[in-house]
Structures are given as C-alpha cells and as structure tokens.
C-alpha cells in the first residue's frame, strides 16, 4: 500500500493538492442549495482525517472514534446553552475536551494492541454514550440538545438558513486542520508513526518512544475529532446521541476505507463519495437506499482494497507502463 508522507518525502505542497480546495470553493458557487450537505461532508472529512492519522499512519485500529467526536459535539452544545454563543469559544472548548479525553483514555488503552485495543475503544464509546444518555440535565438525553442560538462568528458572520456561513466556516477549519495534519505526517514524528505501524518491535529496538508517540498521535487525533464534532453541533445547532453512537464510528471507517487509508486525501474522497451517493440514493429510493450503500461496499472490498484512490493509482501506473 502506498502512503503519503514520510521523513524523506518532499514536503512541499504539490499543485494537485490544491485541487480539493478549488473544488470546494467551486461547489460553494455552483451548488448553493447543497450547502448544508456540503457542510456535513466537510465535517465528516475532518473527522475522517483525524481517524486517518491514527489508523492510516499509527496503525491503531479503533471502533470508538465517535467518543471524541461526540464529546466535542456535546461540549460545544453545552457551552452554547450555558456559557456563550460565541462559536469559536465553543469550538475550542469542544476540541480541548475531546483532546483531554483522548489523552486520558489513550494512556490507558494504548498499552494494548490488536483485538484488545479494539474492544477497549468500543467500551469507551459505550461508556460515553451512556453518560450522555443519563446526564439528561446537561445533555438532554435521548431528546438531544438544541434550542440554542449562536452569535455571529467573530461578531461578523451570522449563521444563515441556507448554510453559506456554515459551509465557509467548516471549510476554513478543515483547511487549518489539513495543514496541521500534513505538517505532522511529513515530519519526523509522522515518520516514526509509520515506523510503529510497519514494525512495532523494530521501533522499540531502535529506541523510539513508541508508547509516547502513539499517545501523542491519539491525543491529536481525538482533538481533531472533537473539533469536527463541535463543527457539527454548531452548523446544525443540535446534538443528538447519535454523535456518540457506535454506528457513526463504523460509518466513519467505511468512508475512510472507501477513499483509501493512510494517504490524507483518502479522507477527502471517501466521505465525499459516500455521502453524495447516500444523499442521492436516500432521495431516489427512500425505503431501500441502504442496499445501494451495501452493494457499493461489497464491490470496494472485493475489487479495490486501496479504496477509490487506490484504483486511481493503479490506473495511473498502468498508463505510465504503456507509454
């Protein structure tokens, strides 16, 4: 499998890496009635990006990433209800809370590997879910948390019905996060993560602080997931228990695998394709749309292990060989 990044790779931004951003801006003008879906896609891209950092680079397999997403979402919601409607404060609080949770839980669960780790991530999500379900005075329980309104961003940009502000807001946050993740992946830190994924024992043997590196990457990833969660809360002005659900974690992995793991842009392509297709199918066949999603997944797993970007890679390789 080909992975982007690494210590020796050229870290300058290639021209093609601007393509997603140009496309996102184009969508803003070309599809004004799809902006709420667009904001959701951007949010999920950020969430997938956070997972890619630990799954694709660190090799940490998790089914519990929604714990951090949901924590960020709920903290942002609670801040908006109880403290202030200033979006950036809520955003930072959500990210911070998720980061702290990531640090604490990461320190515990990253002592294990493989199936045990997988089970622990599941357990953490379940615990968070039940806490949010029971703490009804704070979270609203199964009814969700809503009925708050947000102030304009920086006092300038009001969230509007058509989702214009929300879309650009998500885009800006995603851009900043992408910048950070990209820097990380191309740094020695990123290279050491890849090392851990490829050969854990050898990294120990060369004296790399494996555990610390994993906890650090896990914390950063949790922070980004929390950021995504807070974005979802602020753009929909609602948080429900599903933000902490196991199903969301599963869906996230599906999106990332669909795009391609461990290459940053897989996290861009996967959610885009998955959610646009889901939107189309759910509209076209409201009763049976899950069938279409399922069929697509079976095809990807059977024929395109590297995801959509893997197919494109293979295509380019074949073209080069011919010429």
């Amino acid at each position: 499998m080909k992975h982007a990044g690494g210590y020796i790779a050229d870290s300058r931004i290639r021209a093609i890496e601007w393509l997603p951003w140009a496309f996102a801006l184009l969508c803003y003008y070309a599809a004004p009635s799809y902006l709420s879906l667009g904001s959701y896609i951007l949010t999920m891209i950020l969430f997938a990006l956070s997972l890619d950092l630990i799954l694709g680079y660190g090799g940490i397999i998790t089914l519990g990433h929604s714990a951090y997403f949901g924590t960020g979402a709920y903290v942002a919601g609670i801040v908006a209800v109880r403290l202030t409607g200033e979006p950036l404060v809520g955003l930072l609080a959500g990210a911070l809370a998720a980061g702290v949770l990531g640090l604490v839980t990461g320190m515990i669960i990253l002592r294990t590997r493989g199936l045990a780790l997988l089970m622990l991530t599941l357990a953490i999500t379940s615990v968070c879910f039940e806490v949010a379900n029971k703490a009804t005075s704070l979270t609203g329980g199964a009814d969700g948390l809503g009925g708050f309104s947000l102030l304009p961003i920086l006092g300038l940009f009001r969230f509007d019905m058509f989702g214009k502000t929300a879309y650009l807001y998500c885009l800006a946050i995603l851009f900043a996060s992408w910048w950070l993740v990209r820097k990380l992946v191309y740094s020695p830190f990123g290279a050491s993560l890849t090392g851990v994924r490829e050969n854990n024992l050898r990294m120990h043997a060369v004296g790399a602080p494996v555990y610390q590196r994993l906890v650090a990457s896990y914390t950063i990833s949790a922070t980004l997931a929390g950021l995504a969660g807070a974005l979802l809360t602020q753009t929909t002005q609602f948080v429900g228990l599903n933000a902490l659900g196991f199903q969301l974690s599963g869906e996230l992995i599906v999106m990332l695998v669909l795009g391609g793991v461990g290459r940053i842009y897989g996290a861009f392509v996967g959610p885009l394709v998955y959610l646009v297709l889901q939107d189309y199918l759910a509209k076209r066949f409201p009763e049976y749309w899950y069938f279409g999603i399922g069929a697509m997944l079976v095809l990807v797993v059977l024929f395109a292990r590297g995801g959509i970007l893997g197919i494109i890679d293979a295509g380019i390789l074949r073209l080069r060989r011919k010429s």
Binding site: S36, D143, G240
Partner: protein, 396 residues
C-alpha cells in the same frame, strides 16, 4: 426570419407562463423512518400517506397536482432529521412538511419551520410542547397526557398500587408525569417508577422489578413497534398477569400493527388511546377495508397509519381551500380551523389556540374478535379532549 424567431420565443414564453399559471404543483416533504431498528413505525406512516394519496390523490382543483417527496430520517436521529428537513426546504422548496415519528426529530425541525415559514404537520411525534416552538407547527396525532392523564384518573378507581415503566425520552417522561398526576390526584399510590433507555429491546429486568414490587397494575409507555411487542412478551414470560398484575397504558403498548405478534399475553390489557383498528365507526371500517385491500388481509392499520391518513387529509383540505396557491400564513389560519367530523378515529379538529389535536379518547381492552386480537373500544373516557398538559402549563 428574425421576426419569426422572436414571435416563436414570445409564443413559447407566453405558453410557459400560462402553463405555470394553470398547472400548480404543490410539493409535500414527508419525513419518516425507513431504516434502522425502528423502521416499523416509519412504515406505518408511509403506508397511511401512500394509501391516502392513492385513493384521494386526485381530489384537487383542476390543474393542481401534489408531489410528495419521501425522505428517511433513520430513526430517533435529530441531526439527520434536521438536515433532511433543511434540504427539503432549501433544495426542493417544499410547501408542506409532514411525517416524523420521533419527538426529538420534530423538536429539531420545528425551529427551521419558524424561520422558513413552512407549515409542518406532525403525524406522530407527541412531545407536548413542540407546537409552541414554531407558529408553523400543527399536530394531528396526539400528546401523551391526552391519553395518560385520563387513564390515571380512571385507574385510581380500580387499582390501589401502580408501578410505572416508560421509555426514557421526552414523551415517556410526559406520559409518566401525566399518569402519575391523574392517578395521585385521585388518590392512588405509586409504588415505583422505571425509565427504560429508548434503544432498549430487553424488558425482562424491568418487568422482574415490577413483579417484585407486587403492584396491582403496571402503567407502561413505549414508542410502539417492536418494543411494544418485546415489552408485552416480557410481561407474559414472567407471568405478571398470573401474579395479579394488570397491564395498562397508552395505546402505544398494544399498537394494532403489532398486536397479532404479541400473542395471548396481550389479552385483557387495558389502554386509553385515540385510535383502534377495531373501532366500529363507518369511516374506520372503510379505512381498514381499504388498508387491508392495499397491503394484505392480515395487516391492521396502527394508530400511526390512521394519523398519517388524517395528516394528508388536512393537507389536501388546505390545498383545496387555496386552489393550489399556498400561502404559509393563510395555510396556518385554515389549519387552525380544520375540522373533520368523520375521521377513522371519530370527530377531530385542530385547537385554534394551540394548533394541537382535539379528539375523543377511548378506553380499550384487548380481546379476541373472530380469532384475532383486537383493541375493543369499551367507552369514550374523554370527548373532544384537548391536551390537558397545555392547560396545566399555560404559555406565559
């Protein structure tokens, strides 16, 4: 040639303008649950809507057409529901929203309708204060206090000690509070209360707790569908009936579409609700017959299917009154004055003040009729009854 071309364009433009003036298409956004463990409830709404559209879809002024757009909210999932509603409003430009099984979903959608001025006719979600969240919300289904409060008053005459078990979300809390208020005010004693997580499917531990407390009756609310069956089975398996405990509740616990799956454990269960497929009103008989003809002889319409039918009827009434040109404020005015003396559930009307439903509440008992379980209506406990909770909690 140039002249001809311009005339052609003018003629085309004119015919287009005339065309749009005569052919009015009213778009109705229908949000219900098609996927996930609670798709059964959503299916009820879907069946009710589609049956009405099939049988009455042409009863419109000439040139007016209705285009329903069905969307899936995947269950009690407020942010998905809100996103779907936003898309229906912004992208499809619907003139009505309807459907919605779940209270959390409706509560998330309501503020949008206030902002976009889109009339939103709730066909199930029962949380009592949703219509207060937006002036563009009206509800044709029910609130939990509407059935639980009179049941509480009635139960106090029959049972000394009652244990309550409700689903742990807003409608459950409301059912619990309303039943206890009605019951305690009339002198009953509550021996215990349990709240069951919304996604729960195993009721054995809760029913065991009830059995151990030895009440005379258990009052229950669950959101219908498979959960109603699961709770009934737990009631039967633990033999609470033999231990002398009567099972009572809102009609959700014996929802007609699930009743045949519940088995004989359901016999003798007492409920208060607004609709039963066994109701002997002529309007209901023809509704049930049409339903069975469409979906199969063995299937009974549940209360959600009946309400979905009424919701569509209300929308069609409003479209007819305005001859297809929908003005949101005029629509709400018409909805406030909507009356249907001949709904499958009996006479109904919208309360002009609260935009909530006014209807009869029936006391029913599950009995065998022609070898099939049925919610047989015994008496009308409340006639043309408003939501009592809004009386107790007056808007400031």
């Amino acid at each position: 040639m140039r002249l001809k071309l311009s005339t052609l364009i003018a003629v085309l433009a004119l015919s287009a303008a005339v065309g749009s003036a005569t052919a009015q298409t009213v778009k109705i956004g229908v949000i219900t649950t098609y996927s996930g463990p609670t798709a059964g409830q959503g299916d009820q709404l879907d069946k009710g809507f589609k049956l009405y559209l099939k049988l009455n879809g042409n009863k419109l002024p000439p040139g007016v057409k209705v285009e329903p757009i069905f969307r899936d909210d995947t269950g009690a999932n407020p942010d998905a529901a809100k996103r779907v509603a936003q898309e229906l409003i912004v992208r499809d430009k619907v003139q009505f929203l309807t459907g919605v099984v779940w209270t959390p979903n409706a509560a998330a959608i309501a503020p949008l309708t206030a902002e976009a001025h889109v009339p939103f006719i709730i066909a199930n979600a029962a949380g009592w204060n949703i219509p207060r969240m937006s002036d563009y919300v009206a509800r044709v289904s029910h609130t939990l206090p509407q059935s639980a409060y009179p049941l509480g008053k009635w139960a106090a005459k029959k049972f000394k000690r009652v244990y309550t078990v409700v689903a742990d979300f807003a409608p459950g809390h409301e059912a619990e509070a309303a039943f206890i208020k009605g019951y305690k005010d009339a002198g009953g004693e509550i021996v215990g209360s349990a709240r069951v997580p919304l996604a729960n499917t195993d009721f054995i531990p809760y029913m065991q707790r009830v059995k151990d407390a030895k009440p005379n009756a258990i009052f229950a609310f669950n959101p219908g569908g498979k959960q109603a069956t699961a709770q009934m089975k737990a009631f039967g398996d633990l033999e609470l009936g033999k231990a002398g405990i009567k099972y009572i509740g809102t009609g959700d616990i014996t929802a007609d579409e699930e009743l045949q799956n519940m088995g004989d454990a359901a016999l003798g269960v007492l409920t208060v609700h607004h609709y039963s497929a066994a109701g002997d009103r002529p309007a209901n008989k023809s509704f049930v017959a049409a339903y069975k003809k469409e979906y199969g002889e063995k299937l009974n319409p549940g209360y959600m299917a009946a309400v979905a039918w009424d919701a569509m009827d209300l929308i069609f009434h409003v479209i007819r009154e305005q001859k297809g040109k929908i003005d949101p404020d005029k629509t709400m005015q018409l909805i406030r004055n909507y009356k249907n003396p001949d709904s499958p559930r009996g006479p109904i009307q919208i309360d002009p003040e609260t935009r909530d439903i006014v209807q009869n509440e029936y006391l029913r008992e599950v009995r065998k009729v022609n070898g099939q379980l049925a919610n047989v209506e015994l008496e009308i406990v409340e006639t043309q009854y408003k939501d009592p909770w809004k009386e107790f909690n007056k808007a400031k």
